[in-house]
Structure formats: structure tokens, C-alpha cells
Symmetry: C2
Subunit: 161 residues, 2 copies
């Protein structure tokens, strides 16, 4: 079973990439007006969910130790505050570009990481806690964010006519 680590990292990355590509494919199909609509009456708008995903994915960089965030200003608008709390959301066009940019950047960074890198602790866990709970590694961040992305993909798809 000596190659299982490589295999599992490959499976996890494939799962992330597949989900990402589905979301990108959906975004490409949705018009700006559709993205400005609510996923259901009284619920988040598509544009808010898009900004939320960009902000959460951007935050994976410091968490995995691959770089600093490139859109730190999005945290307040799209993570700390609910939809409509802030009047001025970034324009849809800008968010579309940021989604494509962060997706490509993360793919590039992930492909440089070795299987051993993925089994190291992520930066939000202490050495002591990691010694007790070795599953709190970088790969777990990837699995968890893939689930988060699937969750919101299930909502964004409701914008499609």
C-alpha cells in the first residue's frame, strides 16, 4: 500500500477540481441578472454566494501555507456579514474574474504540493493539537472546502432557468 498516499491525494484533488469545474461551468451559463437574483425567496443572492466562495477559497492560501490572501477585503463583505448588510458589493464582472483567478492560482499551488505536504498540519492548528489529532492536516482542509463548495453549488444551480 506504499502508493496509497499519492493515490488519495490524487483522488482528493480530482474531487476538488471536478466540483470547481462544475461551478465554473454553471457561472459561465448564468447571466449577470441571474447572479443578482436570490437562490430562493428571501435567501442569499447568487452574487453573494460567488463572493463568499472566492473569499473562502482565498483564505485557503494562508491556511495551507501556500501564500497570502489576494482579496482580503472580501472577508468582511462575504464572510463576516450576511447578504445585503453591505450596500456595495463588488460588480459581477469583477467577481467573475476573481473566481477564475483564484481557481487557477489554487490549482497551480496544489499541483506543486507533494503527498507529504498534504499530510502536514494546516496553519490554524497548534503543534500540540496536531500531535493528538493528525487528521487536522492540509488534506482535511481540502476535503472540507470541497464539501463547502458542493453545498453552495447545490444552491447556485437553482439560479439556472
Amino acid at each position: 500500500m506504499e502508493n496509497n498516499s499519492d493515490l488519495f491525494v490524487k483522488m482528493s484533488l480530482q474531487s476538488w477540481e471536478t466540483t470547481n469545474k462544475r461551478v465554473t461551468g454553471l457561472l459561465d451559463q448564468l447571466t449577470d441578472d441571474q447572479l443578482l437574483a436570490e437562490i430562493a425567496p428571501g435567501r442569499n443572492r447568487g452574487i453573494y454566494l460567488l463572493g463568499h466562495l472566492i473569499a473562502v477559497h482565498d483564505m485557503m492560501q494562508p491556511l495551507l501555507g501556500t501564500g497570502e490572501r489576494i482579496y482580503p477585503h472580501l472577508e468582511d463583505i462575504f464572510i463576516s456579514q450576511p447578504d445585503r448588510a453591505v450596500e456595495e458589493l463588488s460588480a459581477v464582472k469583477t467577481l467573475r474574474e476573481q473566481w477564475n483567478h483564484i481557481s487557477a492560482l489554487l490549482t497551480e499551488q496544489f499541483n506543486k504540493m507533494s503527498a507529504a505536504d498534504w499530510f502536514q498540519k494546516h496553519t490554524a492548528v497548534s503543534e500540540a493539537d496536531f500531535a493528538k489529532e493528525p487528521q487536522r492536516n492540509k488534506l482535511n482542509v481540502l476535503l472540507s472546502r470541497t464539501g463547502h463548495l458542493s453545498y453552495h453549488f447545490g444552491q447556485l444551480i437553482l439560479l439556472k432557468k
Copy 2:
């Protein structure tokens, strides 16, 4: 890295169980009337998504080789056909019981599997294809179904007031 196989099987199972528990917690909060409502205007009803998840999870048994399906009749109603195609859906009460039953049954079966078991091929892939694509193993079924569950969880949560 000799214990990594055990570790990522543990991580994958934890991810599955966590998502499952969130869905169960949500179902326990939703009334029958809420489950009979649409997640968004003109979209699937909660009861359809619940039946769909039960049918898909039940199918994991033959796919992983842990047993035969216990609710094979749900496939036609909740997988092959869209919501409202079949008039008579199982009653909400029955579906709630089936959800709890299949969830407990899968947990029991999964906990009996060794790390080596999870890296074996699932039953829907041939030996020849598996030799070329070793990522088509049982663990990949688990990762994929966890993503599927997250996707529909993101929709079911819209039923909550």
C-alpha cells in the same frame, strides 16, 4: 507515512459522518409540512430529495460490496424519475425512518471495513479499468457520495424557516 492509509480513511469517514449528522439534525428540525414544500418555486420538494438521498445511499451497499439494497423500489421513484412524475411518494414518516435506518446501517458496515478494503475496486468498475485507474476504488465512492450529500444539504436547508 506508514499510517497514512488509516488516517485518510478516518478523515473520509469523518467527513461522511459529519455531513450525515448535519442532514439528520436538519431533518429532525423540519416539520412534515416543511418537507412537503419546494426548496424554491418550481423546484424539487424536500420529500423528493429525502427519498433521493435514501435511494442513492442504499445503492452504496452493492457498489461497495457490503450488502444488497434494502429499498430497491425507491430507485424508480427517486432516481429514475423527477419529482412529481410518480403520484404516490412514500409517506414522510416512512422516509424519515428509512433515512435513519440506512444511515445507521452504512455506519455499521463502514466501521467494519479496513483501510485495505477501501482501496479495493468498487463493483461498477472492471478489473482491467481498475488496473489503469486505481483511484476508482471504494473510498472514491465515499468521497463522491459525501459531495452529493453536501450538494443536496445546501438545498434542504432552504426549507428551514
